[in-house]
């Protein structure tokens, strides 16, 4: 990997060492989804991840969030080895926003109930009322600040929201309780071209406000280039290109395509990759 050793570097918030994940097919065959990934992120880092289908992008996020256990290697957050922790136990450290608006929120709960569930992330859930007046006001303030379109819909069921509004809600929920790491798994991919930038703006604001350490998987090269301070290209379970801040500022989607082709020996990015006109 390209990062030079730095003596006075701050302690990484997220550290992956030799993380490997195989998925077994039938007949004992296995696909290597992650092949010895090493990665370090410091507080406030914002990394975008692109790559071919099946490159292991989503698996990487799942291994970090704990949704999928890894076979080998170690995942640590804030210096704590969380490799064996199930997802719910790491949820106060890692927040996720998934691609499908259907799975990112609880549809029969109201918007504010969804927020209240997210608010108690990492806290003991006892017999206190979930929506006291003061907590309602607090949640309302956060929504007004981050996602104004949701502000007057707090008492509606989350199932009545559009896809874009649900993803906005999911972003607010993920960033509400101050997790250390935010994983965005193509969270704008299923939205129409008008809604996606709105959700991305809410995401940027949330990340910026809270100084979150973020990993964002996307198929949209434009998004990958425009957002974040660092870019990873994945292929066959490995990080094949790691573009750091200074370098990334000069990156264009076209140059990114070229670098991907060079790194993979002529593989083009998949057809569903979104290129600007």
């Amino acid at each position: 990997m390209s990062s030079e050793p730095q003596a006075d570097a701050p302690a990484p918030v997220l550290r992956l060492e030799g993380v490997t994940k195989r998925f077994s097919l039938n007949e004992g065959e296995a696909v290597v989804a992650l092949d010895g990934i090493d990665l370090e992120l410091c507080r406030g880092d914002f990394v975008t991840i692109v790559g071919s289908n099946g490159a292991g992008k989503s698996t990487l996020l799942n291994v970090i969030s704990g949704a999928v256990p890894c076979d080998d290697g170690q995942v640590s957050i804030r210096g704590i080895d969380v490799t064996s922790w199930p997802q719910h136990k790491r949820a106060h450290m890692v927040a996720v926003v998934l691609q499908d608006p259907k799975t990112s929120v609880a549809p029969s709960l109201t918007v504010e109930e969804n927020l209240a569930v997210a608010f108690s992330r990492g806290k003991r859930r006892g017999l206190h009322l979930a929506l006291t007046r003061s907590r309602r006001r607090n949640l309302q303030d956060q929504v007004v600040a981050l996602a104004p379109p949701l502000a007057n819909r707090l008492r509606q069921s989350a199932g009545s929201l559009s896809g874009g509004e649900r993803q906005m809600l999911a972003v607010v929920m993920a960033t509400l309780a101050g997790a250390d790491v935010l994983c965005l798994d193509e969270h704008c991919a299923s939205l129409d071209p008008l809604r996606a930038p709105e959700v991305m703006a809410v995401t940027d604001a949330a990340i910026h406000n809270r100084g979150l350490t973020t990993l964002m998987v996307t198929h949209n090269l434009e998004l990958a280039v425009r957002h974040g301070k660092r870019l990873l290209l994945m292929h066959h379970g490995r990080i094949v290109v790691d573009v750091q801040q200074e370098d990334k500022d000069r990156l264009t989607p076209q140059r990114l395509m070229d670098r991907f082709r060079t790194a993979t020996g002529g593989m083009p990015l998949p057809a569903r990759t979104v290129l600007p006109d």
């Binding site: 799975t103 990112s104 609880a106 209240a116 992330r121 806290k123 009322l129």
Partner: protein
Amino acid sequence: MVDLFATSAEQGLVLCLVTLGIVISFRIADFPDLTVDGSFATGASVAAVGLAAGLPPLLAVGIAAVAGAAAGTVTGTLHTKLGISKILAGILMMIMLYSVNLRIMGRSNVPLLDVRTALTPLENVNWAHSAAFIIAFGVLALAARGVLDWFFSTDLGLALRAVGDNEKMAVAAGINPDSAKILALAMANCLVGLSGALFAQTVGFADVGMGIGMIIIGFASLLIGEAVFGRRSITRLTAAAVVGTIIYQLIVGTALRLGLAPTDLRLATGLMVVAALGLSRRAVQRRAGAEAGTAA
């Protein structure tokens, strides 16, 4: 006529605890739990044996409720820790509890005729004693409903609802889904056990076959209640459970008076559920069809 209403209200107010339990498992936790047939009889057995042994009536009823909760805990554990499917875990418990209940009672039936029960003080009330029963059971039913309404608006209750509604989201928010499901089933079967304990005292015996079909009776009651109140919120669901059970008992009481053979009761109830589910499915399809029509 008055007699019919009184009996239906009395039975409905006792059995609505079962329906409230079904609200928790089927509707809130999304866990179609069939333990109910077993745990209802467990509640009845435990209470009857306790009362026959001379325990203070409220203590016997309390132990019966705990026994119900224990049964639900086992069902939840079978599913979450051993990966047995929800339906099968419930069926297994229902079957196993049949033997357990026989063990508890030592025989298939325990009479409570000359035993002091939790209801004995009410029988000594001078004015119409079925009114005393209805008031006592009504207070209990409303209290149970109130506790559930409150519980499901707390942080913990909301966590249970989140797991039932969207487990992925709940886990991502840091909720342990296994504990949530086990807690939900424990609560549900606690209510079922309590209902069984009270039911045994109203009819004057506990019988090992007492719970057979109780899941369908409770489910039919809930469907009736939901037809009145809908199911858009917890308060509507719990109201549906209480009112639906009373209406169901009224319907059954009327049908029996009109000549329905008691032996055909479960068939009739089952057909009622089938009809209700079939109709609601067709209504959903019609709505979907109408939406597709406007979109096109």
